[in-house]
Symmetry: C2
């Protein structure tokens, strides 16, 4: 390394000294605050340029009690959905000049982990927190104990709506209705379901949409017309075989995610079942592979990127409001609308 490594940080004081003004004036220049004579302003700007001065956001955060940083708690990053949401969050934050401090929660996190994650974010003075870990079983029980001690707004993704809390989710119920109604529309009557793990709120919502749509149509919904998977390819295969045995005369299946649905398509082929003639299949998520499978998969599309972006905008809006002491924006639950993408697996052949 031929670095001339000027390890020492250049401070506002250095700039002030060289420019022959007070640090205050430099501060005014970098913040475009109040009046500084055009003359001094130019001089100071020149010095900043020459010295390559970079204001310390750390120091600024400390004295302003505001960090322009969002804490983002991530879960399941190794899967494509969460990482797209994170991408949306990061891009939206960037756009609004916020930074993202990231924390990951491992698969089996406990309330204790929650506390330590939140504490570490608070100790870094984040202005707000985005909680992307979906609600599973008792995963959000900590709200009762911990929420009061969290001094910044939090926005929750994929959480059961709660009075007074900011949250944003895909409208999974509506998505399921779209899927099942479509299957009804193409004339199917015996529509099975492979659900996600029913400890997940989103899985129960999708199942509820399936059941309600069938019942509204006056169709029976026998117990054996639904099996439970765990989102994975393997579990999709297992669930389908089970279903195939228990409900052999089904003519369609609505699968709670695309991974499992692709497994279904694969198994169906292996078993010589014709898709969509004998069995129509609809998935959920619209992952990249779905368009490319043989046959291509009809699915409900959820825009994770968008969910992330909206999450950021909502929480920053709330932060701004608190900051400016406006009437506090009231926390609300927001839902993103999914769309149906019809492909070969349910009868379209284009």
């Amino acid at each position: 390394m031929s670095l001339s490594d000027n390890k020492k940080r250049i401070t506002i004081k250095d700039v002030a000294d060289v420019a022959g003004v007070s640090t205050q004036t430099v501060s005014r220049v970098i913040n475009n605050f109040s009046y500084v004579s055009t003359d001094t302003r130019q001089r100071v700007k020149g010095v900043i340029e020459d010295l390559g001065y970079l204001p310390s956001m750390l120091a600024r955060s400390l004295c302003q009690q505001r960090s322009y940083t969002l804490g983002v708690v991530v879960y399941g990053l190794k899967y494509i959905g969460p990482s797209q949401a994170l991408n949306g969050i990061a891009e939206a934050a960037e756009k609004l000049n916020y930074m993202v401090l990231m924390k990951v929660l491992d698969e089996y996190y406990s309330t204790k982990d929650v506390k330590s994650v939140i504490d570490s974010l608070i100790s870094r003075h984040v202005d707000g927190i985005i909680w992307t870990a979906p609600e599973i079983d008792e995963s959000h029980a900590w709200l009762k104990y911990l929420l009061d001690s969290i001094p910044v707004p939090i926005n929750f993704l994929a959480m059961v709506p709660r009075e007074g809390l900011l949250s944003i989710s895909l409208n999974n119920y509506e998505g399921a209705i779209l899927a099942v109604q479509h299957l009804l529309d193409i004339g199917r009557k015996k529509i099975a379901h492979i659900s996600g793990p029913l400890t997940w709120w989103v899985a129960t919502e999708r199942k509820r949409g399936w059941r309600d749509t069938l019942e509204k149509e006056g169709l029976s919904v026998p117990d054996h017309s639904c099996t439970e998977g765990n989102w994975s390819l393997t579990s999709g295969k297992r669930a389908f075989l089970q279903l195939y045995e228990a409900y052999p005369d089904m003519d369609a299946v609505f699968v709670a995610n695309d991974q499992m649905a692709l497994s279904v398509l694969r198994e169906a082929r292996r078993l010589g079942i014709n898709v969509p003639e004998q069995l129509a299949v609809v998935g959920f998520d619209n992952i990249a592979e779905s368009a490319f499978f043989c046959p291509s998969l009809t699915t409900v599309s959820q825009d994770q990127q968008l969910i992330g972006e909206v999450a950021v905008n909502s929480i920053i809006e709330m932060i701004q409001a608190e900051q400016e002491n406006l009437a506090l924006v009231d926390a609300h639950s927001r839902f993103i609308t999914p769309t149906l993408i019809v492909r070969e697996s349910s009868g379209s052949f284009d």
Copy 2:
């Protein structure tokens, strides 16, 4: 919200006052530093507990000139590979008590964006930077101009090794050799290649491995035996059709990533080409779908998670060394070894 929102932050001074000691003593307690009488220590701990005091990492960072924060610059987060690497980074950082400040680079970033990203990281006093954006074309040209002004260590992922710089990559060359040698071992002689975009360093490495292995075997490598894709499913299809026309008597194809390889399998089926009898196919990356395709895909596995973890460990090692003024650990290029996973698409039928 029934929050008793104690908005004001509790400081070390509050604790000191209540406990009847100096802030210094509190500081010593929370850092487990030097000697504090067991008596005072207990008392202080009690007060900390009662007040729910949380030390400010911000203030600590400022006065220690050390933030225990890593800046991570991410590219292509919407794809599965980068997000797994990020996951590895986040988990490893967590384990070593570092936080992750994340910045995203969009698809068409310029040197100007690079400067602003780095500046914003520096202004937040990160202790080191992990640059995950792979080397593409002139994407790293900024090193010449900007590197000298960056006061912290940087670790680059998937970059052409450079003297004096810390970097870590998968050994793509070796991975390609594994793949092609395997195809030779099962008796194939006319092995085609679908490369990634050759502006990407990793793509050129994989191609080089393919070519070298064939030439070493004394086989000819005609120009028309290789076409170029852009990693996507669509481009894989296009590249394969092109290849099929230009080189109809090939008996195997090594594809630079799994997405494109899956497209190849799909097209092969459509064209009535038997895999692996007529055409053996090997991919690269080992994405989840590869094991589940019909036929399942032989592929080179790269452990992105591991790459992320190693990246963190390397850079933190370097940070520690600088911090303790040890003989500076010299920057090095490290390579992770890939492994071959043989499946049906190259002749194994288990």
